[in-house]
Structure formats: C-alpha cells, structure tokens
Homo-oligomer: 428 residues x 2
C-alpha cells in the first residue's frame, strides 16, 4: 500500500490507509490506546485496540488501518489501526524537553542545542516553511523581471569593503577570506552582460556582536540591476518584491500562518525619507539625538514607530546616507556630493536591507578608491570590470533571517535560523 501524508487524508476515498510518522503523544486507557501520530504535514489520531507497551514518544512508526470519521478526534478523522510497525527506535531516558505541550519549556540555548528535537514541534518548523516561500517569492519575482540567478565564490582573495570583520581561510598555501557579500561579483556580472542578477547564498561577518539580531553566517538575498535611471528604481524594485512576497506567503502558507496565529497585511506605499530629515523627526518627536550621518538601534525603533503612526507603514526607506558612511563604490548624489544615492530599509524597527546606486565610471571609481585612502591596485580585478562600458547600475541585499524574523515577529534571529552561527555557537 502507498503511504498517504496526513494532510491528504481528508477527502480520501480509500478507507484502508498507510501512514508514517512520529509518535507525538500517547494516551493509554484500560482497553484502548490513543496515539497522536505526526508527520511533516500534520497530526492524526490513531486508535489501538490493544496496549502497545513498546511505543514511546518520538519513535518513528508506520500504521495501517481504516480511516473513519470521528467527531471527538481533532480534525474529525481517526485511524483504527490494524497493524503498527516500528521504523526507527528511540534511545533516550527523557526528552531534552517536551514538544507535545502548548509551548516548549526550555531556554533558546537548549532549544538550539537540540535542534533535531525542537524542530519536531510543528510551530517551530513552520518558520522554515515560510522562509522557503520567502526565497521562492524572491526568485519568482526577479525571474519574472528577467533577472538571472548566479552563484559566486565565497572564498575570495581580498576584502570587499575595507578588510575588517572578515573570517580568514587557509587556502592551500595562501590566506583567503570568506565573502562578506557578493558585491563585486554581482556588479561584475551586470557588466558582463547579464544586466540583472540575483544570488541566494551565505555571507560571513566576523563581527564581535552577540545580539538578538546578529549572526556571523547568514543568507543574503542579493540583487544587482543594470541600466537603471536612478536609485529610485531600486526602491521601486524592493517595494514591488515585498508586495509580491506578502501576497505569496498569504497564499502559500495559509496552514503555517494559522499555526503561528498571524497573517500578513497588505503593504502600504513605503515612505522614502532622507536621513537628515529622519534625524530632525527623531529630535522633534522623541528628543532623540542620532550619531552623525547614521542611525542607531534605538533610532530605528523610534522612526518605525513614527512612520507606523503617520503612514500606517511597517516599512521605511532611509535615503541619502553621507559619503563617509558608505563604501567607496556608492554613487554620490547629483544634488549634493557629500551624500550618496543610497538607502536602508527599516522594517518594524530593524534594518533588513542596504542598497544604492554604484559608481559606474572607471575614472570616478578609481579616484574614489584613492579618496577613501585605499589602493586601486588592491581592487584590480574589480576595477578592470569598469573599463568596458559599465552601465549605470545599483542593487541591494536583504538578510533572509532578519526578514523572516520580522515577518513572524520572532524575538531572536536565531529562531529564524535552522542552525545559527554566532560568536559562541559553532554546533550543532
């Protein structure tokens, strides 16, 4: 007999079924045992006429039996088992924590230490089904706009943006680095004729931060787009993606959103406000001073609060960061050379994107590298790209775990990461 997934039992014509999964919960009564069986798709009640003393929570088993309607069973269906077979045995005295209660009673550390157990809780696993649909929506949206998905190396010979905060790799007899971003390569691929590219890949930051919003290895959703008119095109693109994303998730993740008790509201037009103006607002509305040319974590939270009240938006683009706060490849603003045509996107108080137009003229870029106190020789292969008719272009990057976290209102970015890497955590 062919196995049926639990979610597909509803509406099934056959009355004899084969299901497989893990023992989620056991209730023993004198003459009957109820077992809740869990597979990747759902939970079903199984009724055993005898005692099955050998059953234990989290064993993996297969059950054959007849599918019957039952008003008492959760979901309205249950299986009267005719046979049970153990597929995978257990070797524990007690579980690290119970997963068949409403909530897991354990610290996040313990939950992460025991990922193979904690993810069995459907609510925790649902986060990653939604994460999958974020990358699906990202690809779908960009490919509909003629973007090409690329794969660029993560082992690189030199630093992209100054050099600090990179992990070093011993590459045969040389020292190499783990890429902080595919920045140079995605620009190169725009110039190499792809025009529009994106990448979904790990990025590495050797930052000495250990906070609820930092990871040392994360997935970066990178985009780069050639032949743009201005950096407004990039914000347009991201806003379009976000609208598509929310619609996509509401459609594809109905089950998961329900399980997590949430739903995504339609995205309102996202305000685009220059950083200098944001500083004024923070000062006026909250008496909050900001670091020069930047915004701190508290500022991000306050400006989100303000924009939510004023525009009913969970998002805000902060634009026109000063040259001194952006990398050497950031395009200076035509109206004020001390500023750049760049932006960050803040979502519910957290930066989830950095983006902007890039310098595309060889001479201008070379001069800017020198102006930044860097040596053009160190950027030779990157600079060479600009000798061959580089079109106006720009791009952005979205942190996958950050957007997942904020969409689901999770408290810690590690909850949106299967196996997080931070300063202290290298396992599992």
């Amino acid at each position: 007999m062919k196995r049926t997934l639990i979610k597909d039992l509803k509406g099934l014509k056959e009355k004899e079924v084969l299901v497989k999964g893990w023992v989620y919960k056991i209730y023993e009564l004198p003459n009957v045992t109820f077992v809740k069986l869990r597979d990747s798709s759902g939970i079903i009640q199984v009724v055993l006429e005898e005692k099955y003393c050998e059953l234990k929570n989290e064993m993996s088993i297969q059950v054959t039996g007849s599918l019957v309607e039952s008003k008492k069973a959760p979901g309205g269906l249950e299986i009267l088992a005719t046979s049970i077979k153990i597929l995978g045995n257990t070797y524990y005295d007690i579980l690290p924590f119970e997963i068949n209660k409403k909530k897991i009673s354990a610290s996040l550390e313990t939950i992460l230490d025991n990922r193979a157990v904690s993810l069995r809780k459907p609510e925790l696993r649902a986060v990653f089904k939604i994460q999958q649909e974020i990358t699906n929506a990202f690809r779908e949206y960009l490919m509909s706009l003629e973007f090409t998905e690329i794969h660029t190396p993560k082992i690189i010979s030199s630093s992209t943006e100054g050099g600090s905060e990179m992990f070093t790799v011993n590459y045969f007899d040389r020292r190499a680095f783990l890429a902080q971003s595919p920045q140079f390569y995605k620009q190169m691929m725009v110039g190499a004729g792809f025009e529009r590219v994106f990448e979904v890949a790990p990025a590495y930051r050797a930052e000495l931060h250990n906070t609820y919003r930092h990871l040392n290895e994360y997935i970066s959703l990178d985009v780069e787009m050639g032949f743009i008119e201005s950096y407004e095109d990039l914000m347009e693109l991201e806003e379009g993606f976000l609208k598509h994303l929310f619609k996509h998730i509401n459609e594809k993740c109905e089950f998961e959103l329900k399980l997590l008790g949430t739903q995504l509201k339609e995205i309102k037009p996202i305000p685009r406000i220059p950083l200098a103006k944001v500083h004024e607002i923070l000062q006026q509305e909250f008496g909050k001073a900001s670091p020069p040319g930047n915004i701190d974590a508290e500022g991000e939270v306050l400006i989100s609060k303000w924009v939510k009240e004023k525009y009913d938006s969970d998002f805000i683009f902060l634009t026109k960061y000063p040259v001194s706060k952006r990398p050497m490849y950031a395009m200076p603003s035509p109206e004020d050379e001390t500023l750049t045509d760049s932006f960050d996107l803040i979502y519910k108080g957290l930066e989830i994107t950095t983006g902007g137009q890039r310098i595309h003229d060889y001479n201008m870029l070379k001069e800017n590298i020198i102006k930044f106190g860097l040596n053009p020789e160190d950027f030779k292969f990157y600079l060479d790209t600009f000798k061959y008719g580089m079109p106006p272009h720009g791009g952005l990057a979205i942190g996958l775990e950050r957007i997942t976290m904020k969409i689901l209102d999770l408290d810690n970015i590690r909850e949106a990461t299967l196996l997080p890497r931070d300063m202290k955590r290298l396992e599992p």
Copy 2:
C-alpha cells in the same frame, strides 16, 4: 519612453523604440554606420545616418529610433536611430580578446581572467542561463514532492567524513572548517520532522587535484529523504528528476540550446548495475582492470561507452559499493554485509552523483563509527539525532557544475563556473 529588450522587439506595435545595451560591432560606410547592439536578450542592428566617431566596441549606450523591417538585417529588423546616448564609457586600448567573432581566440585561463569581458559573448553566457534552469528544475521537482529547501551552515566545528581535505577557518579564537557537504545536517533535518529536504549551496574540498573536472568550491545539489523503503527509492527519485530536468531545459532554454547548437534527448531507463558486475564487464569487454572496490576515471569512461551501446543510455547507476569505500554512515546491504546500499551516477563518463541509504539506528551507527576507527565523542551532536526515532532514510548529491558541463558537452568544468576556484585560482 520605456526601454524594450531586444528579444521583445519582434511583434512590437510601437514603431518608436528605446533600447539599451553594449556596442557589439561597428561597420562604418561613408554615409552610414551600422552598429550591432547587444543586450542580455539578443542583438539588433542599428543604423546611424551620420558617423559617430566616439562609439567604441563594448560601450554601453541607449538608442532611440524607429523600428523597421529589413530583409538584409539579421533577424529581419533594424532600428533607424534618431538619437544615441553613451551610458557607460570605455577605458581600454584593445580588448583582452575579440568577442564579436565566431569564437574567442584565447586560452581558457585568459577567458577566466577576463570574466567581465568573456561572458559578454552570448554563447558563454548561455551556459549560465541553462545552469539557472537546472536549479529551477531541481527545486520545482522536489517541491512538487513535498521537499523543503533548507539552509545549513558552511562553517562547521568538525569534519563530516574523516577530516582530510577540508579548508580550515579562523573562527574568532577557534579553528573551524568549511563544510564538504551538508551531510550531517540534511540527515538531522529529515529526523527533525521535515522528512524530505534539499539544499543548493556551496561545498568545499581542499583536494590537491587540478583537473578538468575538479573545483575546490562548487555548488552541491543535496537531497535527503525519510521513510524510504530502500535505496532504490533514491535512484527512482534521481531518475525522475533527470527526466523532468531534460524536459524543462528543452522547454525553457530553446534560445540558449539553439545558440549552443544542442538539444537534450529523452532519457532512457537508467541501468542499475552492481560495481562487482561492472568490474566483470570492464574486464571482459575492454580488458580493463579496476582498483579494488572502486572505479577509476578511465573505467567511468569505458563503462559509459558500453552502456551507451548496449542500452542507448548516457547514464548508469553503479550500485553496491563495498563498506570500505563508503563513509561510516552508509547502510550495509541486507544480502551482503561487506557491501552498502549505495550508488554513484555516471553521466557520459563522469561521476555526477554519490548517494545511498544511511544507517538510521543509533546503536548500529555508533558501532559502525567505532568499527571505522573513529571516536563517537567526535560525532556527538550528529549521533544524538539518532536517539529520537530516526526513520529509514537516504539521499544523494549532484554537482551542479558537473551536470552543467556534461549536459552541454563542455571540455572543462571551469566553463560551467562563473568564477572558478582551484588550487591556483582565487581571482577574479
């Protein structure tokens, strides 16, 4: 005016158009200049009534003008330009090689050194459009079978399969490694309740090989599947994927396949032959001796030749590798404990997949680790996964660059890699 991609000009109603791209070729006649303009989607002829001395090959420009039919123009269409604007200037004396001739006259090394130029040749870029569709087909196929896409860390604390041939990373004050494969993590995620998972991500091998078929960083298409009946399910899965893939590419990449002068033939049922039997065939048919329990590069080529002649198949599954040639987690064959329920897939003489059923019983796995002369303590987090009802499972991995190379009959794996990493190459 809105820009039109060159591929969309055909059948356009508007006669006034705006196109953007790179100058591919210039023919100057006394009173008229013909410019072939190339964008990511195609090439169009532009007619200029005056001389435009400032134009140079590979400049990026925009052209407005009227679209007219022309029997002489390649593709039957040309644009009579009314205005031209330079978007991105050039800063070279001569190009590293010409890209507007039938073939690039340069060594592969030079082509790779100048990726920003060489990829402008449509034939070279087409390889990566097809590569994109390989990953699209992979995702599409697996998601239709309820697989979840996962992201697992590439910085890991210990080696997965013995320890040699791994790159080391300086992770804060510790030594870490770059993952050779997501093996342990994908198994863990099967057990953690996803049941079926896949990943598309970089994998790292510090192998001292520098051949046409080795990369030190490559993209691994990984699959792991729970609740299997036997390892035959895995070969079934891969064969199903390959059939879907070929159909998908023929549909989605018509333009690119034509450009590369190829088409994919329908996949015949793939023979599954035990390695011992393959040794016999090689001996009998070619007088070829094989290394014990394995097959060498020459053997892969010869057995492919044989299977092509006998079964008209470009693929062959070699099955039942001996225990001594497989990792400690490989499931021994029920009928012969010296063999494993494992397989390699050879495609046109090259191994593109390794797969097999894994041991899922905690005690059996622990004993096997010891039998392999390894210390179970070193695999603690992996082993712990098996305490909680691990179902029968297995998986496989496909090298993305290898399958791309073989589909397109490329000579060197580096031609199927945007920016290859090998023992000598860390740039661009």
